[in-house]
C-alpha cells in the first residue's frame, strides 16, 4: 500500500462533549470489511438516567503504546506516522494483554476471529490523503480530522490536549481531545 499520501499536518481531534449519540461513526467504521463489520469506535451513554450525554472513544494512538509493550508476540507496531496498527494477524495469539492494559479501553478481542482488532485511523484512507471515515461523517464535530490551524479557527473556546495522567501512568497520544481553553493535560485519577 502506498503511504505517500499520508499528510503529517492532519491531526485527529476528539471532542466528546459534542457527541450527540447518533452512532453514525460506529456505523461508518463498521462498513470497512477489514474489521469484519465490527466498529472500532465506541459510543456509549455516560448515565442515561441523568442525561442523554454520550461519549465516544477511539484509539488514541499513543506515542509509547502500552498495548504494544505488553504484547508477548510483538504483534502490535507503531509506524513512521505514529499510527499504532491493529495486531498482525499472523502473530496475534489473542491473549488479551493489550485489552487489559490500554488505559482508554480500546483494543477488542473478537472471539470468533481469535484476534485483537483496533482502530488504525483508517490507514487505507489516511495514507491516501483522505480523512478517516468516522471523522468524515460525524454530524456534530465530536470527531474532526484536519490541521491544528483549522481546529483553532473552528473552536476558539477549546484547546487540544494530548497528555493524560491515569494515576501514576503518564500517556501522550497522537489523537487530541478538546478541553476548555488553556488546559494542558487531563488528569483522570490523581
Amino acid at each position: 500500500m502506498s503511504t505517500s499520501g499520508f499528510r503529517l499536518d492532519q491531526e485527529f481531534f476528539l471532542d466528546p462533549q459534542r457527541c450527540i449519540g447518533c452512532h453514525a461513526c460506529e456505523m461508518a467504521c463498521a462498513e470497512c470489511e477489514t474489521n469484519g463489520h465490527e466498529p472500532m469506535i465506541q459510543v456509549d451513554y455516560v448515565d442515561r438516567f441523568l442525561s442523554p450525554q454520550t461519549s465516544v472513544q477511539l484509539c488514541m494512538h499513543c506515542e509509547d503504546p502500552v498495548c504494544a509493550k505488553v504484547c508477548p508476540a510483538d504483534a502490535i507496531t507503531k509506524d513512521e506516522f505514529g499510527i499504532v496498527h491493529s495486531a498482525n494477524t499472523a502473530r496475534c495469539i489473542a491473549c488479551s494483554n493489550c485489552v487489559q492494559a490500554c488505559p482508554f479501553g480500546v483494543p477488542k478481542k473478537i472471539e470468533p476471529m481469535q484476534l485483537m482488532v483496533k482502530c488504525n485511523m483508517c490507514y487505507d484512507r489516511t495514507s491516501a490523503g483522505k480523512k478517516p471515515m468516522c471523522a468524515t461523517v460525524c454530524p456534530s464535530g465530536a470527531l474532526f480530522y484536519g490541521t491544528r490551524a483549522e481546529m483553532a479557527a473552528r473552536r476558539p473556546n477549546s484547546t487540544p490536549v494530548n497528555q493524560f495522567h491515569f494515576g501514576q501512568q503518564f500517556v501522550k497520544t497522537k489523537v487530541n481531545i478538546m478541553m476548555p481553553k488553556g488546559a494542558t493535560e487531563l488528569v483522570i485519577d490523581a
Partner: protein, 738 residues
C-alpha cells in the same frame, strides 16, 4: 374488501419487515464500483449529499460527498445505512393481486393495469369521481409530486388528493403564508453562523436532523447563546445555554409571554414594524395579560427562565429562530407558528445577514413536495386551487378546460374519516403508510377495512398496503432521476444510480401508464424526468414558489439553486426579504393576534398524564425503510416509554417494566425507561413502530382548524404498571409487530 387477506403474521413471514445486514466481507465489488453516483440521502429534509457506489446495477455502499456545501460529507446513521434499502430481500418484484385466505400472488403488469382501470371506472361510475381518493407522500421527487398532482386532477379526475405532508409541514406552511405570503425558510443555515441568539422551538435537532447540529454548534463556538424549548432534555437541549422544559401543548403561551416582555421593555424594531409590518396592535392586545406569573402557571416553566429568554432574545442584534413539529403537531399548530413569527417580526431581525427564521422541514422533499400541487387545496407554484386566475393558468399549462379542474378536496385525515363514513370507496396510495403514521390508527384500520378497492404503489409491502387489493411495485429514490427541494429551499438533483429490480418499475412509468389507460394519455407525454421538471417550471412560473429559471444544468453547475428563481439568468434567492417586499397582498409582513387556548385534550382525574410522541435518531417516520435495516433496528429496537422517576415512583413503576398506556382511543404496552430528562407530568413514546407497538393507537385525531395537522404532540393518558419485566427486543421484534 380491504381486510387483510391472511393473518398479519403470514404476511410478515412473506414480505417482512426482515432485517438487512451487509455481508461480513462486504458486498462484492464495492472496492471497484462500476459507478459512483453523487446524489442525496433518501431521508430527511436536510438532503445531505452522498455518493452511492454501484456494482452490477445494485447499490453496494456509500462514500461521503465532501464537496456538497450543506453537509460536507457529514451523515447520520440513517444516511450511512441508507444504501441497504437497495439489495433488500423484502423488495417487491412483481405486481401482486390479493388472494383471499392466502395473501398475494404475482400477476403481470397488463393484468394489474386492467384490474385497476376497471375498478376505478366502476367505482367512479357508481359513486362519482371524488369517491376514489389518492394519498401521496413527500419522499417523492418534485417531478413525481407534480405528476401526482396532475394525475389525480386530470387522469383520476378526483378532488380528493392529499399527502403525508399533512402530518408534517402544513402548520408551518399555513403560518408562513399568513405572515409572509410565501412558504419557505427565510434563510439558509449559513445565517446561523454569527447569530447572537438561536432559539429552537420544539425540535429534537440532534436526533431528527443530526447534520444540522454542526451549524448550530458552529454558531455557539462563535459565541451564540442557544435557547431550546422542549419538554425533554434532548441531546441538543443538553448543550443549550437555556433549556425551557415546556408543558406539551402550551407553546403559544410561552411565545406570547416573550412578546409581552419585548413590548414591556421596548425591545422592538419600531422602524421595521411601522414601515414593513401590519397587525402589530392585534398581536400586542392578545398578549397584554401574558405576564410572567401567568406564563409560569400555564407553561410550567420557571418565570425566571422565561424572563431570561426574553432578555436574550429581545435586545439581540442578530438571531435565528427555528421550529419544527414540536410546536406544529397541535390543534393550534398554526397559532404556535404565528406566535413564533411575531417574535421575529417584533425584533425586525429578518432578511439580513445572520438574522433568520425557518421551520425545519421534516421529510426528504417536504419543501418541494408542498409546493407543486400535491395538496388537496393547491396547484403548482404554491397556487390556490380555488383562485380563478390560478385555475385558469394551470388549466392552460395542462391543456384542459378549467371547468374540468376539480376543486378543493379533503385533507389526509379527513379522507380516512370519509372512507370510514362510506363516502370514499376507492383509494390509490403511493409513498404513505397511514396505518403507522396517522393518529388514532384503530380508526385508520377500521376505515381501510371498509374500502371497496385499494391499490398501493410501493417498493416494500408497508403495513397499510397489506390491506390492498392490488400492489404495484414501484421504485426507490435511487432508481429514478429527479430533483428535491431541501429544508433550506435549495433545489438539488437526485440522480438515478440503478434500475428497479425484477419486474418493479419506476413510479413515474406506473403513473403514466395508469393515466393512459384512464384515457388521459395525451396529457401525460414525457420522455424523461427532466421533461416533467420543465413542465413544472412553466407551471410554477409567476407563482410564489417560482422555479421557472431553474434547469437541471443550472443545478448541476451550482450544486443546487434556491427558489424563487424566476428567469434563467436569475441566480436564485438564498436569503429572502432583503428588499423588505413581502408576498402578502399588501406587501407587508403580518403580525397576528394569538390568544392562548388549551390543547384539544387536557388531563383530568381519569387520564392524568400527558402523552407526547416523536422520533429517534436511528428510525425514520413510519419505518417502511428503516425498520428493514438491521443496524438501525438494533440501535433502538423497540419504542420505550420515557418517564420521570418521580412519576414512576408514584405509580410503583420499575425500570424496564411493561407499562400499559391507556387513552380514550386505545391502549398499548411499552417498557419503561426511567430518566430525569423529561417533565414529571409527561411521558414520551416514539412512533416509528407498527401494530401493537404503535403509539399512534393512542394519539388523538384532533386537527388544527386551518392546517388540519393532527395533534400528535399532546393527549391525555393513564398509566397502569403490569408487574411484568419487558422481554428482550429479539423476542418482541417490535420492528415487525403485527
Amino acid at each position: 374488501m380491504a381486510t387483510l387477506p391472511t393473518s398479519a403474521e403470514n404476511l410478515i413471514a412473506s414480505f417482512g419487515p426482515k432485517l438487512n445486514f451487509p455481508p461480513q466481507e462486504g458486498f462484492a465489488g464495492r472496492d471497484e464500483p462500476d459507478d459512483v453516483i453523487k446524489t442525496h440521502c433518501c431521508f430527511c429534509g436536510m438532503q445531505c449529499g452522498i455518493k452511492l457506489l454501484v456494482k452490477n446495477d445494485r447499490v453496494v455502499g456509500f462514500e461521503p460527498w465532501e464537496e456538497f456545501p450543506f453537509n460536507e460529507g457529514r451523515l447520520c446513521p440513517k444516511g450511512v445505512q441508507r444504501y441497504l434499502q437497495n439489495n433488500h430481500p423484502d423488495r417487491l418484484l412483481d405486481p401482486l393481486a390479493r388472494v383471499e385466505g392466502s395473501g398475494f400472488r404475482p400477476i403481470t403488469w397488463d393484468a394489474a393495469f386492467a384490474q385497476l382501470t376497471a375498478n376505478i371506472q366502476r367505482i367512479q361510475a357508481q359513486s362519482g369521481p371524488d369517491s376514489f381518493a389518492m394519498l401521496s407522500g413527500v419522499s417523492l421527487s418534485n417531478e413525481k409530486c407534480y405528476l401526482v398532482g396532475k394525475f389525480a386532477r386530470v387522469a383520476l379526475k378526483t378532488k380528493n388528493l392529499d399527502y403525508n405532508g399533512r402530518l408534517c409541514m402544513v402548520s408551518a406552511g399555513a403560518g408562513n403564508k399568513k405572515a409572509f405570503g410565501l412558504d419557505r425558510a427565510s434563510n439558509t443555515y449559513a445565517d446561523l453562523a454569527h447569530a447572537e441568539v438561536i432559539m429552537i422551538c420544539g425540535s429534537n435537532v440532534s436526533e431528527t436532523f443530526p447534520t444540522l447540529t454542526h451549524w448550530i454548534w458552529q454558531a455557539r463556538d462563535n459565541g451564540a447563546k442557544l435557547i431550546v424549548v422542549d419538554p425533554r432534555l434532548t441531546p441538543i437541549a443538553r448543550t443549550a445555554d437555556l433549556h425551557l422544559p415546556i408543558r406539551p401543548g402550551r407553546d403559544s403561551a410561552l411565545y406570547g409571554a416573550i412578546l409581552h416582555q419585548m413590548i414591556k421593555h421596548d425591545w422592538l424594531d419600531h422602524e421595521f414594524i411601522a414601515n414593513h409590518c401590519s397587525g402589530f396592535e392585534e398581536a400586542e392586545q392578545a398578549v397584554a395579560g401574558y405576564d410572567l406569573e401567568w406564563a409560569e402557571q400555564v407553561t410550567g416553566i420557571a418565570k425566571e427562565k422565561i424572563l431570561l429568554a426574553a432578555q436574550w432574545w429581545g435586545p439581540a442584534k442578530t438571531s435565528f429562530l427555528l421550529h419544527a413539529r414540536g410546536i406544529e403537531h397541535h390543534s393550534k399548530g398554526v397559532e404556535n407558528v404565528l406566535a413564533c413569527i411575531n417574535l421575529v417580526l417584533a425584533s425586525g431581525r429578518i432578511g439580513k445577514p445572520f438574522c433568520g427564521y425557518a421551520t425545519i422541514t421534516g421529510q426528504g422533499n417536504g419543501q418541494g413536495g408542498r409546493e407543486h400541487g400535491h395538496k388537496c387545496d393547491q396547484l403548482p407554484g404554491n397556487r390556490d386551487i380555488e383562485n380563478p386566475e390560478h385555475r385558469k393558468y394551470i388549466s392552460e399549462v395542462w391543456g384542459i378546460d378549467e371547468k374540468d379542474m376539480p376543486g378543493k378536496g379533503l385533507t389526509a385525515y379527513e379522507i380516512i374519516e370519509a372512507i370510514d363514513r362510506g363516502e370514499i370507496k376507492g383509494l390509490l396510495s403511493i409513498c404513505f403508510n397511514p396505518l403507522v403514521s396517522l393518529p388514532n390508527n384503530n380508526l385508520v384500520r377500521r376505515a381501510l377495512e371498509k374500502l371497496d378497492y385499494y391499490v398501493a404503489i410501493d417498493f416494500f409491502l408497508n403495513e397499510t398496503a397489506r390491506h390492498a387489493d392490488l400492489i404495484l411495485p414501484g421504485s426507490l429514490q435511487e432508481e429514478e432521476d429527479g430533483t428535491v427541494t431541501t429544508a433550506e429551499g435549495r433545489v438539488v438533483r437526485i440522480r438515478k444510480a440503478v434500475n428497479p429490480p425484477g419486474n418493479a418499475r419506476s413510479d413515474t412509468s406506473i403513473l403514466l401508464e395508469i393515466a393512459r389507460r384512464l384515457g388521459a394519455g395525451r396529457h401525460f407525454n414525457y420522455d424523461s424526468s427532466e421533461a416533467i421538471f420543465n413542465e413544472l417550471r412553466l407551471a410554477s412560473k409567476g407563482g410564489t414558489a417560482d422555479y421557472y429559471g431553474i434547469t437541471y444544468q443550472k443545478i448541476e453547475d451550482n450544486m443546487g439553486i434556491f427558489w424563487p428563481c424566476p428567469s434563467e439568468d436569475h441566480p436564485g434567492t438564498p436569503r429572502l426579504w432583503e428588499n423588505r417586499k413581502f408576498k402578502t397582498p399588501d406587501g407587508k409582513a403580518h403580525f397576528h393576534g394569538v390568544p392562548y387556548r388549551d390543547p384539544a385534550e387536557i388531563t383530568d382525574a381519569e387520564y392524568p398524564v400527558i402523552l407526547t410522541t416523536g422520533r429517534v435518531v436511528s428510525q425514520y417516520l413510519s419505518g417502511t425503510q428503516t425498520r428493514r435495516i438491521g443496524k438501525l433496528v438494533k440501535q433502538y429496537p423497540e419504542p420505550l416509554l420515557e418517564i420521570h422517576p418521580t412519576l414512576a415512583a408514584s405509580l410503583g413503576i420499575q425500570h424496564r417494566e411493561l407499562v400499559k398506556v391507556i387513552t380514550r382511543r386505545g391502549e398499548a404496552e411499552f417498557p419503561a425507561q426511567i430518566v430525569e430528562t423529561i417533565r414529571e407530568d409527561t411521558i414520551f413514546v416514539p412512533y416509528h413502530w407498527p401494530g401493537r407497538k404503535s403509539v399512534n393507537q393512542l394519539t388523538s385525531g384532533h386537527l388544527d382548524p386551518v392546517s388540519k395537522i393532527p395533534e400528535f404532540k399532546v393527549c391525555a393518558c393513564r398509566l397502569v404498571p403490569t408487574g411484568n419485566q419487558a422481554p428482550i427486543w429479539e423476542e418482541t421484534k417490535a420492528y415487525a409487530s403485527p
